[in-house]
Symmetry: C2
Subunit: 116 residues, 2 copies
DNA sequence: AAAACCTTGACACTCCCGTGGTAACGTTGG
DNA sequence: CCAACGTTACCACGGGAGTGTCAAGGTTTT
């Protein structure tokens, strides 16, 4: 069966051996171990390493961000607290007082038009 | 009405003025502006600044992590990709081959017992 | 018009993340 | 037994987060 050592796994996934150990420390992927402590990467692990790499590249993420997403999944208290904060939020410019902000924007446009 | 300037808002929320500007740059809270560009913090903004501070402290988060959570909320493609990766994952030690990992753990326990 | 604010931009410093490398030591296989 | 490979534990370094401070200039208040 294909169980690869760390350098072999590195070669076929595009990560470095160093990074595979680092990924393990973040908790995102814990490979099995042999009796003597060697890491062994099975087919599933290899696949997830490849898809992880693609995920990070496609959305320009870091390992810490995926790790945080995992934390959100597992810690419902955290998830609910964060969502609560995000949800009761008047997202963009807060209150729009017409004689303040709005006029500010208006004048900015006028200035831009006048510059042309 | 209570609309505070940045230093006043800083005083009543526990942040520094510098940090309020920084928070704004992360996109987490955009205060309104007066016609001349001054930031004005209304009661809602003040409240959310306080709860934000509490949120960060309680779960030991950074602003970037909350910002990432917001990104997850707004970008469904990202959210689904991340969840897909997290979900098809044999979380803990992958495959457990009894004559490898399991024996490793067993012997560790024996060593510990023998040390006593 | 002067004092007391505000704004943006820059320099700087600390700490963490993502990497690589190296050293010291154990394991595996010819 | 020795070469090749694995393990952990360090040092190092560039970049980003978080934070302060200061400069140069506009605004508000008195």
């Amino acid at each position: 069966m294909e169980t690869l050592t760390i350098h072999e796994a590195a070669a076929t996934t595009g990560w470095s051996a160093r990074m595979l150990r680092y990924i393990e420390r973040t908790g995102l992927l814990m490979p099995a171990r042999t009796a003597s402590g060697y890491r062994v990467y099975g087919p599933g692990a290899l696949q997830r390493l490849r898809t992880l790499k693609e995920l990070l590249g496609r959305f320009d993420l870091g390992l810490s961000e995926v790790a945080f997403a995992a934390r959100l999944e597992n810690d419902s208290e955290l998830r609910e607290a964060v969502q609560a904060w995000l949800h009761d939020q008047p997202r963009r410019p807060e209150h729009v007082k017409p004689d303040d902000w709005l006029r500010f924007e208006q004048e900015k446009h006028e200035r831009l038009l006048q510059a042309a």
